[in-house]
Amino acid sequence: MPQKLSAMNYIKNNMRRVAVLIVSLGLCFVLVYLTQFMLSTTEESFKRILIGNTGKMQVISLAGKTTLGIPTDQMGDEEINAAYTEKNRELAEKLREMAGVKDAWYGEVINNFITAAVGQITYNIPLVEKEKIPEIMEYFSMKLIEGRLPEHPGEIILDSLSMKNNDYVLGRYCNERNYDKYYKIVGIVECDTYFGCGISSKDWISSWMIVVLSEGIEDMSAVLHEIGINVKENYDTVVDMKWGKTFLQEGIIDVISNSSNLIYMGIVVLLLISLTIVYTTYLRDRHNEWCLYCSIGYSRANIYHAVVWELLFTFGAAFLAGGIISILAAVLLRSTMLIPQGLQCKIFHPKAFAEILCIYVFLLGILQIPVRYALGRIRTIDAIEDDLY
């Protein structure tokens, strides 16, 4: 078998140089992956609310004049309020009779915040009578793990992740700044989503909305249409799964994707510049070596073949090392930063792996330019000797 130039010969004898390339490329991998990982905490956490919560509970707020048909121009404030309450109660009753709807009522809700790595979102906490709380808990598969159930006005229970995310402690108040200590947390529950419920405070008037408990209804506007209500996007609010999915895609995923693409581009450009400079220096140092190979009978194709294998080894090792370090770092970040903050995350991001692979292929392609240039400059030893003597 004819001997070929071995890529390993260069690699094993130039570990420091190869290590510099592997570390640079590996660092690029880790940066890109961890960026994706951290940004995904927003998507994963908010998904629980936008898909998880809206899949079980929908909240509706309709405009009195344009949608419910209340002639507000001819009425005083009290009359408007009375008419508005009556219309909403009627609507809740009609909704209760619709297929797929477990329960519906017109009542108060308050909001609670969830803050992720990027962004903040609110979810609705229904305020109901004391007797209704066990029913809601059962519906949401909530299990009391600490404290007690709300018994008095202004008391609420919250899920454990919301407690961690907001640094709440049992016995303190929810949204202290926003609601001026009107909702005291008396119990912590465990459930699949960020959620809570409680009893309305007599001292604070919260938002009144139609609250619907239903599973399997994605488009609540369509259900409202069936009972003669045409939802107008600009006037009415319908927080259902359809809205949740749209908001998740357009308001979260697309925005994050744009940001992450910019970050990736910055990383890639910086890496590309530094990598090209370093690699070109390495190639320059190998000019005489390649001239020797050419003089003793190796072809340029033999040399190129060996260089390609060297690069493939370097990129492969960087991908492997970067992948392992990224996963370990993600696991570490999850346990030290994200779980204590009550945030959700996904350790494996196949899309990030694919994107990094594309980045590597791009860089590998760009590095062909200095390689081809260096190969083009190969001369035989006699030409070098001619220059010297």
């Binding site: 078998m1 004819p2 260069y10 070596e289 003089s295 009978g297 072809s299 035989t380 030893i381």
Partner: protein, 234 residues
């Protein structure tokens, strides 16, 4: 082995005043033997060696190697010839700085196999390098050891023709004669062409070709060279 016909090499072809590195002469070289080529700098001895070894293509003339004109070879054929038939020792050693002495020798091997490393070690041992030095990189070897490693690299494929440009330049006298003894031994079955300024190392050479200004000025052949040198060109 080599049949050189009217070989001419002109540098600066585009200029009006052309430089004749080889001025057009004929020469026939045997299949084996130690042949020294001597002459002052610029006499054309290195150019002749590079033309014979296919590193340079002469401007005119033919070089027949075993009957085949090697000035018209295709790239693949030329590469095969350089790898399998020819061995090179250059003026500078051109060792690869990151490789050990043994790797520097085996890198030139035409065939792969476990015996390549063994042969490289044998060659290095024959040239006076100890086992301790096999793993050293060129920077850790003395000038003489580097040159001997370069000679071992040239001999790894047991080439039919060994081209050596000043092979003993970096060696002291004792080492130079030791290397020459090995080359003389090698020349019993193969052709060894040595370019040198040092006439003393060519004692015992089968032929000595003297060059001057791109032409052969004298051939001290002892009957080995077939009187083919065109002395009329001198």
């Amino acid at each position: 082995m080599f049949d050189i016909k009217n070989i001419t090499m002109i540098y600066d072809m585009e200029k009006t005043e052309k430089i004749y590195a080889l001025g057009g002469f004929n020469l026939t070289l045997p299949d084996s033997g130690l042949i020294g080529i001597i002459g002052p700098s610029g006499s054309g001895k290195s150019t002749l060696m590079y033309c014979l070894s296919t590193l340079k293509k002469p401007t005119d003339g033919e070089i027949l190697y075993n009957g085949k004109n090697i000035t018209e070879l295709k790239d693949k054929e030329r590469e095969n010839l350089r790898r399998k038939e020819f061995g090179f020792v250059f003026q500078r050693h051109f060792l690869i700085p990151y490789m050990s002495a043994v790797d520097n020798v085996t890198v030139a091997a035409a065939e792969r196999g476990s015996n390549v490393t063994q042969r490289a070690k044998e060659l290095l041992t024959g040239f006076g390098l100890s086992e301790r030095e096999f793993g050293k990189r060129p920077a850790k070897l003395s000038g003489g050891q580097r040159q001997r490693t370069a000679i071992a690299r040239a001999m790894i494929n047991a080439p039919r023709v060994l081209f050596a440009d000043e092979p003993t330049a970096a060696l002291d006298h004792e080492n130079a004669f030791a290397v020459m003894d090995i080359l003389k031994e090698y020349a019993k079955k193969n052709l060894v062409l040595i370019i040198t300024h040092d006439r003393s190392i060519l004692n015992g050479a089968d032929s000595i070709i003297e060059m001057w200004d791109g032409k052969i000025s004298a051939v001290n052949d002892g009957g080995v060279l077939s009187a083919a040198a065109e002395r009329g060109n001198v």
